[in-house]
Symmetry: C2
Subunit: 368 residues, 2 copies
Amino acid sequence: MSEVYAARRTRLRERCNAGGSAAALVSRAANVRYLAGAAPRDAVLLLGKREDLLVCAVPPDERPAEGRPDETLRVHVLSSPGGDPAVAAADLVAAQGADSVAVEEHHLTVARHRAIGSVAPGLRLADLGGAVEQLRVVKDEEEISCLRIGAEIADQALGELLESILVGRTERHLALELERRLVDHGADGPAFATSVATGPNSGLRGHAPTDRRVEEGDFLSVCLGATYHGYRCEIGRTFVIGTSPADWQIELYDLVFAAQRAARESLTPGAAYRDVDSAARHVLGSAGYREGLSPLTGHGVGLEIDEDPQLAPAAMGKLDACVPVTVEPGVHLPGRGGVRIDDTLVVRPEADGGPELLTITTKELLAL
Amino acid sequence: MSEVYAARRTRLRERCNAGGSAAALVSRAANVRYLAGAAPRDAVLLLGKREDLLVCAVPPDERPAEGRPDETLRVHVLSSPGGDPAVAAADLVAAQGADSVAVEEHHLTVARHRAIGSVAPGLRLADLGGAVEQLRVVKDEEEISCLRIGAEIADQALGELLESILVGRTERHLALELERRLVDHGADGPAFATSVATGPNSGLRGHAPTDRRVEEGDFLSVCLGATYHGYRCEIGRTFVIGTSPADWQIELYDLVFAAQRAARESLTPGAAYRDVDSAARHVLGSAGYREGLSPLTGHGVGLEIDEDPQLAPAAMGKLDACVPVTVEPGVHLPGRGGVRIDDTLVVRPEADGGPELLTITTKELLAL
């Protein structure tokens, strides 16, 4: 794996040098992990002028879920407690003779940025911007394999829940049970706070579980994901509780399903982000649902659950192969509830069979 | 409750004006909640020149766990998705005729700070520093009452765990079960990631649960807390698994207990933070444990689990009455395990009975 991390750092260094900085200081945890193999608490990665260093406040943890620092990388642990690794790294890079270093201005606070500036007054601080986030968009097969295993775990956890009695249980208990099952099946942990929404709450994106209990006739929408070796996936499904769905429930479900399928089918290399969004939005809009929709139809996933690209009306850019994204349109009718259907897929060329569906739980409307 | 939030804002406004700023823009979530009663996602509080405003990206959630915005405060929800409430607030305060606004430089990123500066070029951005964090140190009785209920919930969850069979279960499962029980008993959720540490892991501060199973003869150390109405408390205990603890286990336990008691007894109004720390550290040091100790003996708790003050060797300042803190010394012997004992207490004058212990689970060495 060492070569992978070294190659990623080489790509970043090239971008940095092209931008006029000899060195870079990466502080955002997911970016540090991407380039160094692990991101111990508060650690920063220094792409130095002479040497790369992982600068840590605490020694790296050895648990597999936390990753393992690339062995070719020197690890520097601060000797005094309470020190800021970013400030120490600036000091180290100045000592290496660098006259400028690019930092992540979208992550560093103003106060930390100032502290970095004062420890090495001769050092010019440039902006690295989202350079690492951009490198992270296209995944390699090792990364996709972690997402695939995470998706299998989420499918298993969800499948087991469907076999249990649901009526009378609260949203909060169902969410906790799903999270326990994720861990049972080998997840590092949940990829994000599990959402369980019943009745009038169903169909709300990111609904935080309440003490409402599942009732006969409810829509039940669930959104969960597993983290596996740091990689986070997402699945969302909506079910109906009881023997026979009402007509409005069947209609709404079919509509959201059609919107979700349209967006999934538009996932091809070269497709504009906004076109994927509008594929789903057009189906919902044709049926009269334009207001109150989620501002996005999907987003990238990886070391964070919400990464670039954003599949949204104003997003600029086009999909590449090997970009994993969610497709998660939904409709919520205030006071009645609604439907969300959410998959994680990997963009693949048509010659390779088109988009690869990672979350394979059925999307038929199940009556539970 | 409205008067409470208005009074807090008045105190902050006085500090701000004394610092030369007519307005303040508070962005750190716990600070926003403290001053406004609620902190919807990404919301900022504007202490304006003419009017105070809660500026939100999404409408406030109505769940009790999230708090409820102070009714005397105007809530402004951004109309376009993806906007930054901090930038919008800067625009609003400039429109009110303010020429400067104090911002939280320890919380805002460099990129957000720049965006705020560019939307209102005539507006001078000053630094609010930790002014709100300082106001939050001393709690009122309403806040302490939330911590007390949270502590009761944590005591209950821990008590139930002790009645169950532990041998053979993994750290991760025990942690998940504790978190479920916290929610069962009415917590908003866990106050922080529950730590369960067995055998060689026991006694490690902040140990992330692994798949190691509880074995006969182990030390088992547990650290958990409940969030109740936003307030977070903490309790940690160490037990021994099996019928009779080994001599080294009894000795180590008694030592850490003595250190913890010494620190608890030093919690009086006017005591220096560092003296509380050294009370515990001195007991451990006299027995030869000086290296590898945690850098702090305790810390404040409230809307965040780790607040000011820090009870540490280099901390400056003195305790006031009505400051809730943890007291959590520990010793870990590499390869063997160790002991941590952690309580949440409120500093009270001797005339009121001295420090108020919120976490009342026994600190006898229980053999389970």
